[in-house]
Symmetry: C2
Subunit: 202 residues, 2 copies
């Protein structure tokens, strides 16, 4: 008789971090209550202060960290799945994860790292750093993959940042419009331009 859609395995602690990330990406950090997280995870309220003595800040930071590792893991899986890896192919997969979600599950959720940045960048330094670390953890494998695909090393990092920036922005717009238009536009326009960076080696 669990409360909500979180897999029961993997100890209550991990479930709470997962639930926190899920609620944060839907409602933002400030609007997500501790009691709500516990309920969503089907965990007892008392466990909150047991597992997260640092309070909400600690829970949020761990949720953001989890999101960063999750994103990095997805990049690795996309690369493994691509037969002939190209920059545009990787980018298309990254975007497709979001269009798929929005089409099948609705526009309820955004990126938890973006939410943490918006809500905490100025008010909670530790969370801001967690968000920066999450972006870094996400950007790094993308940049490395670009280098391996033949993109000049000095441009790989910047192009990876461009890819993630575009994706984040398109997620925002898509959620505001409740339409995947922005996501498809970004894939279509940026994809080819990314592949062009492979050849141009001066």
């Amino acid at each position: 008789m669990k409360a909500a859609g979180v897999p029961a395995e993997r100890g209550p602690r991990e479930r709470m971090v997962f639930s926190a990330a899920q609620l944060i990406r839907r409602d933002g950090v400030a609007a997500t209550g501790m009691r709500e997280v516990a309920a969503h995870a089907g965990a007892p309220r008392g466990s909150l202060q047991h597992y997260f003595p640092g309070g909400k800040e600690q829970l949020v930071n761990e949720a953001v960290g989890w999101a960063g590792r999750y994103a990095a893991g997805r990049v690795a899986r996309f690369l493994a799945a691509l037969a002939e890896p190209t920059p545009s192919g990787l980018f298309a997969e990254m975007v497709r994860q979001w269009t798929d979600e929005y089409r099948t599950a609705g526009f309820a959720g955004g990126c938890p790292v973006a939410a943490a940045t918006v809500d905490c960048a100025e008010s909670t330094p530790a969370t801001r750093e967690a968000a920066a670390a999450a972006f870094a953890a996400w950007t790094e494998p993308v940049g490395r993959a670009l280098t391996e695909m033949g993109v000049p090393e000095e441009r790989s990092g910047a192009l990876a940042t461009l890819m993630i920036s575009s994706l984040e922005g398109a997620i925002l717009i898509a959620r505001a419009e409740r339409d995947v238009r922005a996501l498809t536009a970004v894939t279509r326009e940026l994809g080819p331009l990314l592949d062009a960076a492979v050849r141009n080696e001066a």
Copy 2:
């Protein structure tokens, strides 16, 4: 003996909308209180319910709308200032507004429209629509300018969305990192690719 940095001219009502936008872009919607807005605007608390009988939701929606019109106005001014308008030149100006702010005033503020989207997209339909309208008001003049610069009409809209997506995402990353690196990376990498779209008319 005003409370904070808001110009005294332009009636208290407009000042409150302006202050709301300013506070929202710093702390997010949920963390911005009505009393705080009034104090920041140097306006009496009682004026809130007088000018905004719709409560916080109305105030937030107007702040978002104001931000959208402001962004659109900036685009128009950038275009007027550019001697030889090019897509990369426009984009560079749009980004430079943010790098300038971050360098001179610190990383306290993000984009209020992004903040409203993150905090209200799922919880407050009217605000979500206001955010969508703001993005549209911002994208439209950019797209129109691209067309006038020689970008094929069927690509202008998508490229404008790409520009704004990249900018929004880079703002997020820059704020998380407290470093304009993401903004400069995005300008340098996307700029040339935008100009390439002018010639290709196949």
